[in-house]
Symmetry: C2
Amino acid sequence: MVDVAARAGVSVKTVSRVVNNAPYVQPELAQRVLAAVAELGFRRNHLASSLRSGQATATIGLLIEEIANPFYATIAGAVAEVASDHDTMLLIASSEEDPAREQQLLRDLCARRVDGLLVVPAGEDHSFLQSEVDLGTPAVFLDRPAGELRADTVLLDNRGGARAGVRTLVEAGHRRVGILLDSTSVYTMRERLAGAREALAAAGAAIDDRLVRDGIRDPGTAARVVGELLDQPDPPTAFFSLNNRISLGAVEELHRRGSTAALLGFDDFDLARLLPYPFTVVAYDTRALARAAAELLFRRIAGDPSEPRSLLIPTDLVERGLPGR
Amino acid sequence: MVDVAARAGVSVKTVSRVVNNAPYVQPELAQRVLAAVAELGFRRNHLASSLRSGQATATIGLLIEEIANPFYATIAGAVAEVASDHDTMLLIASSEEDPAREQQLLRDLCARRVDGLLVVPAGEDHSFLQSEVDLGTPAVFLDRPAGELRADTVLLDNRGGARAGVRTLVEAGHRRVGILLDSTSVYTMRERLAGAREALAAAGAAIDDRLVRDGIRDPGTAARVVGELLDQPDPPTAFFSLNNRISLGAVEELHRRGSTAALLGFDDFDLARLLPYPFTVVAYDTRALARAAAELLFRRIAGDPSEPRSLLIPTDLVERGLPGR
DNA sequence: CCAGGGCCTGACAACGTTGTCAGATCCTCG
DNA sequence: CGAGGATCTGACAACGTTGTCAGGCCCTGG
């Protein structure tokens, strides 16, 4: 900048004014400055600028579990759109479900003085963010609630969606429902399971805990577990799969066996139409979830001082039949 | 930092030394500093730090077309892993295939003084990056070559893969091959098309340009175009679809009609096993592409001064049969 | 006993930018 | 004709940090 100023024969302050489109600069001087900028290939240092002018790095941090996962990629895409509307860049970090890594990454994002944080939490305790939030870095949590921290939260209606879905199973006469899930350590899974229990309880059907199977991480395992449940005496007449990775394995196994058991899944698929065995799913709008969170964050960044808010994004029952009937 | 120094009764420089684990600090003083840091909730300002110490913002920029697209999400995931190994954060921007936007975003990333750039180019001319590269911000292009700029490039073997794929069609006796593509304005599409032409030419089968259909952006259009081609006199006996969005529509339409035409696709699918109509695809390792590019970038950041390199990631023919036979 | 080196600390300037303020010029209006 | 405002410009300090350097202490070895 000093070089540009020297070249244009003006002060650095005038250069600063020109590159920031500040008012009150003679057109002729501005021309000279612009020429010098072009000749010297000058580019304003955004870091120095936001250091000096206090806040506004025009960057927000997004912390998710894993960028390559389509769910999080969709979130990232929707957040990027909203950020772009606010001329803001996106710093993305993946916690890989590791609370220690999450904490370190969040600290790092704060050290980079992001204007705000969007977090899909992995850990249980986010009190370490309290000081940052107090110091003016707003944080919005999405998909899962924050632990030990009062903050804005945008969640899916996991419980309500699961309840509505399982109710259709119940109404179709099913009482023995196999429930397939990833891990109860994840909030969304617990909520979906709770919703399923509520729907069964409402029908007076106590849930059979031997039909609830945990720790299913991939379609292969899901297929195996479905097989095991079907092979035991008094097998389930329907399955509720708590995410689409599991649904995939389940549908394959049911198809392979020509089973008539019903299947209900949480999470929709892109390629649902192509599956050999259509089934009803509890769908939701991932982009709406992410957009709501991002928009809330930008309201906070703009200075909205109101009480922390909790938004619930509705789910949608997409009926593709219950093939087991 | 001055507050911490005051609280601990030391100079700011000593605080700096402690928070950077510099040697030659009395353990007792370090203790006092650490205590003050904890009490005051001090967090080092990474911006100021990298401003003062010259380079190394420990951030790289990734410019892609669209984050929500699984191809780019996979790239982002692999890049994030490599970046994480180098304790580097990832600033991600989406050009949405708009060259003007791409240029603006790249300039913005440079203004943020990223240590390096990873670019899936949208535009044709990247000479505006020359000054940045000269000034020490290395750039690596991936999936598509840079325009008007000598720079490292990591590409898929689009042409070779298409040639190998179409050769299998030719060997199976097909001479009339319908070719379905998105847009010839995209480099990868042109290469794949060229590979297909080469394979057909090698068999002495001149390509019939009426069978090459352009501008197919979604599965629905793909399905319609397949129908049109099949309905015309002397229809193709095989199709080569240049990306998986198109393959999806094509396979649906072929399935719907019970057609015996063969189908070959570029791009593999996650759910390929579940498709009702298996077909051979030209697959590739997106993660390998991205990792190679990221690793090359970090070598440049570390100071590797060698000539710009061009890497070619091989494709892999995954034979799932040619159902048309 | 002193030279020389390792250990430890702090004052100061600087990174590239912009907020603040003072000053200069010009115009307008009473 | 002068006061007051609008327009324009630059000197200076400051943002939060770290590189440089000077200086102090203590030890070791000749």
